[in-house]
Amino acid sequence: MSSPNEIRAVEPESPQVAEARKRVRRRRSIALAIALALFAVTFYTLTIVKMGPALFDRAM
């Protein structure tokens, strides 16, 4: 025997909720992508800055 709550739990979600869920996840993915890109750019720039003028100071 299942309770009414359990029956409701297996009902498929409405198209509106499915669409909203998709949009939330898409926005989260975009935010994560931006954060990762910033992370990469920060470390790249930091490396260059830390090397300083010595970056170009090498024997030809």
């Binding site: 869920r21 939330v24 935010a31 930091l46």
Partner: protein, 310 residues
């Protein structure tokens, strides 16, 4: 702003955390002041720092503050669900699980400390790590639910950022940065007790022993007044020890006097509604006070350095 609200509505429909919920977890309103005082620490510290590294240092202070705020919301989600002020936060509202907040907070905290250590020096990185530890473990987990002195001792966590900024430039902790720490440390009790005075039913319901709930309004108001006087006097230390000039001295005197006057007015107000209004005014003023005093200190320091005043 629209993006955040919209995202929250969507996540409300789906029960999933949106981008806005993750941003809310960082307590952006608290972060503003932390970032500002951290920036002042970086700017006024003697020595030079590459501008890009200075930006990274301030960003790390912001990320560390955000990470510790997320960890605070993870631990306090049970009492956040009771207080009206915090009921709509991502965890109590059901949009985010506690585990998500914990992982998010840990990642941000670890990342901020590692990046600050690598970009500047490990004194600054270590101080930031200690700040996060102090806020999450000492204040949130240990003191907050046990003693009415919670925000007095816990206030140290909010007072460290200028010291972190200073250490990022100099690699050391010097007397001047300790004075900046002291000003914020002494500012915290009147600031939070003023809030607690007009939100005390919230704290009482959640079982958080804030000063008004434990010792009553009158004793709290007296303590606010005493702390405010000590704060106003301590704000003169930079002048007394010769590392602040006329601009800072004038601003610190005027703002300290106004702060003391508002605390005295609160002390003398007996009627409940008027007392809550006075407490609210003091709370709002205290936010401006810290911003104005630190801004004046930074301006004074920059003008002295660039030779306009000597």
């Amino acid at each position: 702003m629209a993006l955040i609200d919209d995202s929250r509505n969507l996540s409300g429909m789906t029960g999933e955390a949106g981008v806005g919920d993750y941003l809310a977890l960082l307590k952006p309103s608290v972060m503003q002041l932390v970032v500002f005082v951290g920036l002042v620490g970086v700017v006024v510290a003697p020595g030079t720092i590459n501008p890009f590294i200075a930006i990274i240092a301030v960003a790390c202070i912001a990320i560390g503050a955000g990470g510790s705020a997320a960890l605070n919301m993870w631990y306090d989600s049970d009492i956040d669900a009771i207080m009206s002020r915090t009921q709509n936060r991502p965890i109590p509202s059901g949009r985010m699980s506690r585990e998500e907040a914990l992982v998010f907070g840990m990642v941000l905290s670890g990342f901020s400390v590692a990046l600050l250590g690598l970009a500047t020096n490990w004194v600054a990185g270590g101080l930031l790590a200690f700040t996060i530890f102090f806020y999450v473990v000492i204040y949130t987990m240990w003191l907050k639910r046990r003693t009415p002195q919670n925000i007095v001792i816990g206030g140290a966590a909010g007072a460290f950022p200028p010291m972190v900024g200073w250490a990022a430039v100099t690699g050391t902790v010097s007397f001047e940065s300790v004075v900046l720490f002291l000003i914020i440390f002494l500012w915290t009790p009147p600031h939070f007790w003023a809030l607690a005075l007009y939100k005390q039913s919230d704290y009482g319901a959640a079982g958080v022993p804030m000063m008004p709930n434990v010792v009553g309004d009158n004793s709290t108001k007296l303590q606010i007044f005493v702390y405010t006087l000590i704060l106003a006097a301590s704000a003169m230390l930079p002048t007394f020890f010769g590392f602040a000039g006329a601009i800072y001295t004038t601003v610190a005197l005027i703002t300290g006097f106004c702060f003391s006057f508002l605390a005295w007015r609160l002390l003398k107000t007996r009627e409940d509604v008027a007392m809550r209004r006075a407490a609210r005014t003091l709370f709002n003023y205290s936010l401006s006070y810290l911003f104005i005093v630190f801004f004046a200190f930074m301006t004074d320091n920059l003008l002295t350095r660039f030779g306009t005043f000597s």
